[in-house]
Symmetry: C2
Subunit: 343 residues, 2 copies
DNA sequence: AAAATAAATGCAAACGTTTGCATTTTGTAT
DNA sequence: ATACAAAATGCAAACGTTTGCATTTATTTT
């Protein structure tokens, strides 16, 4: 079983030429004659030659591999980004090592260490919720790895970044809520230490300010971004408080938790209280009522991110000028925020 | 920026010992004195040494890497399997290269080629819907790569396999439907050329046979496993046919499509027609009515699969005896199949 | 204290490519 | 035919580890 793989040397030997020539022929080097290229290719096929990427990487000092760190792979938002990244990187001959940080700072550090050990050429990272210090990322950079941050970024690092325009996304959404005639609002979302949720709050705040309302006068729940957390919070909230007209949730999952608590109490959505989400998770179109939310074009985000990384990896400049890409999300209005009493 | 990474040689030089000793020290070789191990470790830390996995892999002829081929990463079922696999493989020092076949035979072949080129030690694969020929997998095997198939398997290959017991899963579910008093059924699902759907049909058939009914007398829709396909199909079906008492859907997504078409027509679930799904996708617990389905413990499936692979990779036997693991799924009864008229 | 054994380290080759430079072969101009 | 340039190939080192075997150093036995 453990049969020897055929190498460049084997091909060379049977053709009585050098390994160098074979190598160059296979890599389509301009100085190699067309005819020898052909014979080499033919022999390679015949001997079922499979190039040894490892040897090549060692010699070149870099692997045609990029590492991607993702908080959680089982969020649609992230798995779509991955798909987008692959659609750009694979055709370019790179493969992806995907690592999950599971929102843990320590795991993120481990991930980076293995990626450095694997001499990846590039690193794509969306930081975990716990990450406050960025020395591990700096270490990657100083190991000559091209780094691009996506979605969850930090201003502390001078690297290329791809973001969603969360401010305008939530501004547009809030505007829609106002247009529907809602005034009495409530914000729920993840920690605003995070660019994502900070910005989503900012857009909300901005739209309200335009009609003379201070967002901070309304209830704000800042918690862990999970269905369960929102459900528990709302269950308790409803015991002691009256409903707002509308709940602006900065996450579809949290919106879902709220909806379950609300419906359990016998309230109707959007009649008794309207609610919106963020991200357009697949279930948003499937639940009852269908959830108004914001589509983020995650696959496209993956593609942009990968394109930028590819550029930086293949440019032989020693230092790249970091660029910032901001993707504009799109409001998706569905039943959960339609005001039937309007006008 | 492009600063030289410190190598084992650098450490050796500053300590005036050999690279061999350093290598052995770092790998905790028994013949190395505790004291030198300590000094080597200290110096390694000091010089910020990052082992070069590539060099190591080249020398050893194998990378501490496993390739995983997945039809689609953005199905919860699969992304959970991935998480399970990682939870076993990462602590063992392996990393995962994940490839999506996107249900295409050609992509699957490409994936395998890059994995072979990367000299992965192991391969985890769930075949695409298009795959009928398995020579590419045989090629991997003959390149001395340990292979384990999960979920979507084939009997044509003599390798270890991890399956869900779809027969008993759907048997249990059908039994539940019968117990609820439903008799007039309908089956919808993916192509039965596929072990998964074939087995899910078999369990359904078996349970019906026990009460003297031939499953083939009832309507069967065998189509592409997507929400859209099922929606379209049902929309048309409802024009020309009367409702069955219950729809057995071999996929949550298809169930969802059916539900949307049914509710659009103004029918009530489960009052006018009951419906069940399969897989327990997250939305199944979120929709209205909540969907009865079958939980497959995908994370556990990933763990089992990885454990078996790990065994096969680390055993130095030349030939492993393939084992077959069958995981028992669990019925999850929710509102969508509760018969209010029962008794 | 010498001899024998055990423990620790060193030597050098190997893994399969790639690549700068040297050499050979081919083609062109005289 | 000769000289020269251009094109094609060869040579050999390098990438950073690992590892069988040889050698040195420390420990035990007599």
């Amino acid at each position: 079983m453990a049969k020897k793989q055929t190498t460049i040397q084997d091909i060379a030997k049977t053709l009585s030429i050098t390994a160098s020539t074979v190598s160059r022929a296979l890599n389509d080097h301009p100085k190699i004659k067309k005819s020898t290229k052909d014979t080499v290719w033919a022999k390679a096929k015949e001997l079922n030659y499979q190039p040894n990427t490892i040897a090549s990487s060692l010699r070149k000092g870099k692997a045609k591999t990029v590492g991607m760190i993702v908080p959680r792979i089982n969020r649609h938002f992230f798995s779509n980004i991955i798909t987008g990244v692959e659609s750009v990187l694979n055709p370019a001959g790179y493969n992806l090592i995907i690592c999950q940080s599971e929102e843990k700072y320590d795991k993120e550090i481990n991930n980076i260490n293995t990626l450095i050990a694997n001499r990846v050429s590039g690193l794509l990272i969306s930081i975990s919720l716990e990450t406050k210090n960025f020395d591990h990322i700096r270490r990657a950079i100083s190991n000559n790895i091209a780094v691009v941050m996506y979605d969850r970024i930090t201003e502390e690092l001078n690297v290329s970044k791809v973001e969603n325009d969360d401010i305008s996304g939530s501004y547009d959404l809030t505007k829609h809520l106002i247009d529907e005639g809602y005034k009495d609002m409530m914000w729920i979302g993840g920690s605003r230490n995070f660019n994502t949720y900070r910005n989503r709050f900012e857009g909300y705040e901005k739209a309200l300010k335009e009609i003379g309302i201070d967002a901070n006068k309304y209830p704000i729940f800042e918690g862990s971004i999970s269905l369960e957390a929102a459900y528990e919070y709302f269950k308790e909230y409803l015991e002691n408080n009256k409903l707002p007209e509308v709940v602006f949730s900065a996450s579809d999952y949290m919106a879902m938790g709220a909806i379950m608590a609300i419906q359990e109490k016998g309230f109707k959505i959007p009649d008794d209280v309207a609610i919106s989400g963020y991200s357009n998770e697949p279930f948003a179109a499937l639940i009852n009522p269908k959830l108004t939310t914001v589509e983020q074009f995650s696959k496209e985000m993956g593609r942009s991110t990968a394109r930028i990384l590819l550029d930086e990896m293949e440019s032989n400049k020693d230092e790249n000028i970091p660029i910032k890409t901001i993707l504009r999300p799109k409001l998706i209005v569905r039943e959960s925020t339609i005001n039937k009493k309007k006008l």
